[in-house]
Amino acid sequence: MSFPWAQEYKPQGTVSKWVDERLPLPRLVYNAVGAGYPVPRNLNYFWNFGVLAGVALVIQIVTGIVLAMHYYASVDGAFNSVEHIMRDVNAGWFLRYAHMNGASFFFIVVYIHIFRGLFYGSYKAPREMIWLLGVTIFLLMMATAFMGYVLPWGQMSFWGAQVITGFFSAIPLVGEPLRQLLLGGFAPDQAALNRFFSLHYLMPFVIAGVIILHIWALHIPGSSNPTGVSIKGEQDTVPFHPYYTAKDGFGLGIFLIFFVAVTFFAPNMLGHPDNYIPANPLSTPAHIVPEWYFLPFYAILKAFTVDFGIPFTGVIIIEAKLMGVLAMFGSILLLFFLPWLDTSPVRSGHYRPLFRKFFWFGLIPCLVLLTYCGGKPPYTQWVILSQIAAAYYFIHFLIILPIVSRIERPLPLPNSITEAVTGKPLETAAA
């Protein structure tokens, strides 16, 4: 892979040479995130978020492993074991709050990372595989976060599990047996809690594995950049280390300041009070809502209110509930097809006047609206808004994007990254 001008790893000491001949791991790191990886010189702060997502995963794994040493996966003991961690374990309150808010911050940085990809066309050739692996990581994260939220066995844990596993019962014929198979019972109970704990511990390592593939795929074509113009020569790049390690270090500091501010001064801001009530299968909370990062998808689920059938005959082909479930999963799965829906050869949204309008004035407000409506009770005004926003979501990706790529006249692109940065044409800038 990589570019001919990439710096080569030269082991200095005897030990380094000995290791390099037997297991060239330092060489691998050098080429992956060291001076051996040439990166476009014009990356903006949006390119910090991949590294930040990696850091967030490490925070989750480290705090999670220690929490698991004190947690007790039992319907009678789970809630109290979390409170034992909060009260009696040394710095347990910190581990628990860091893990709880760490999940939210993981989603915040991953959402910004995805938006970066959407706006700058990072999913386009030759980077489709990176995007596909990224969407896979996102799906795995959602499953992991959901199962993790069940573990404290509070009211929202239990009823969230009830609602989410209920999706499977919408599948015709096999739905209910499938749901019982997944839960190990008729409702979330000991069997479900145990398997959720087991999977919640497993999945982060699966995610780490897919991240390795994600980064491997990234190193084949190299990083994209805000202009979307491909690298033309050495003058367009800088070595990852020290240039981007330094920039990522600064970005990491800013990220941790936000993370620490919320974790230590408003740790329950992003949570739901009902999850401090122990799970009670006999008492349904007034409003069952998922964690904030699932709200847009929850809004799409709830937006489907009419059955699909043959008019005036009463024949129903797809029930509203099943359609909501299909649409909710579809809203994420359609991202897999994005590289083939957006056929414009221009990557960066900067040079796509029409795309940019739909992005900032269509997609972003639509997602904000879905997130907001997802957390609201099903009053008429919220249902109406989420139906409009959900309809726009599908129209944007499945209809507008393919048409825009066909009819849009992109703005002139710079000849090279260096030209875009220095304002000088390529020949003089290279000199």
Binding site: Y243, K247, G253, F264, I277, A303, F337, Q387, L398, V421
Partner: protein, 287 residues
């Protein structure tokens, strides 16, 4: 092919959503949602401030001790505090002897067994015990409370939105329902005659459905006698017990805040250094 299928799927989903939208609008016009008493008359928690508020706030130890007194003499008759141990009271400023005395003098004893016969028995509490619950089990609690279950209070201020203010507002919120008006001047029983409080419940607009099973626990002044000479007004008792229940829900709050300032201080220095090295390294590169 991908784009054709995508187009049809997009058309189907958005079409069904727009039909649903029409359906929602028609239903809303045909059967407009009726205002409910809960919606119109439920009150948000009152604004009330405490020493422990804000990122620098610390618990007022005297207030927590007074709150414990209110809990032990009033609330503890019905409400358990299962997650708190007597030893935890050291954090309220009591010494070891005082904690031992508090445990020993607690009205409810700890369930145990008779070492000779193995029969059920009880013994006085020791500092290592959690606060003994007033009722042996849920059935006993419901039997004694008109079939209502008094919730455990250990986490109550975290289990309700704006919990500390909620507890304070609920305790101060008992009203005479006859002639009760909300801030807009609507009279409850005129607007919603069917919302009259059923027998055995008590009207309280700060409770979610306006009618709470708990009778007004702090009926008037001087229900408890404070050891520090503070005048035990109704509002004073409500504030003190709300502060105490904030502590039971979040006993490590002060550790959390002070650790937070240390972490922030460290990170600000780290970030400034990282920014300076970033600027130095990139000094010769236009980007």
């Amino acid at each position: 092919m991908v784009r054709l299928v995508a187009f049809l799927v997009g058309l189907f989903f958005s079409g069904m959503l727009l039909i649903g939208l029409g359906d929602t609008v028609i239903k809303a016009i045909q059967e407009p949602a009726q205002p409910t008493a809960e919606h119109e008359f439920h009150e948000m928690p009152l604004a009330v401030s405490f020493a422990h508020d804000g990122p620098l706030g610390k618990f007022d130890r005297g207030q927590l001790q007074r709150g414990l007194k209110v809990y032990s003499e009033v609330c503890a008759a019905c409400h358990s505090l299962k997650l708190v141990a007597f030893r935890d009271f050291a954090a309220l400023g009591y010494n070891e002897e005082q904690v031992k005395a508090l445990a020993k003098a607690w009205k409810t004893e700890v369930p145990s067994i008779n070492p000779e016969t193995g029969e059920a028995a009880s013994r006085p509490a020791i500092p290592a015990d959690k606060i003994p619950s007033p009722f042996a089990n849920e059935v006993a609690a419901r039997a004694a409370n008109n079939n209502a279950l008094p919730p455990d209070l250990s986490l109550i201020t975290k289990a309700r939105g704006d919990g500390t203010a909620y507890v304070y507002s609920l305790l101060m919120g008992y009203r005479d329902q006859a002639g009760y008006k909300n801030a807009e001047g609507q009279e409850l029983l005129k607007e919603f005659p069917e919302a009259a409080t059923p027998a055995g419940l008590h009207f309280n607009p700060w409770f979610a459905n306006l009618n709470i099973a708990m009778a007004n626990p702090i009926a008037g002044d001087d229900q408890v006698t404070y050891d520090d000479g503070t005048k035990a007004t109704k509002a004073q008792m409500a504030r003190d017990v709300s502060a105490f229940l904030t502590w039971t829900a979040e006993p490590k709050m002060e550790n959390r805040k002070s650790a937070g300032w240390a972490a922030l201080g460290f990170l600000i220095i780290f970030t400034v250094l990282a920014w300076m090295s970033y600027k130095t390294i990139w000094a010769d590169k236009k980007h």
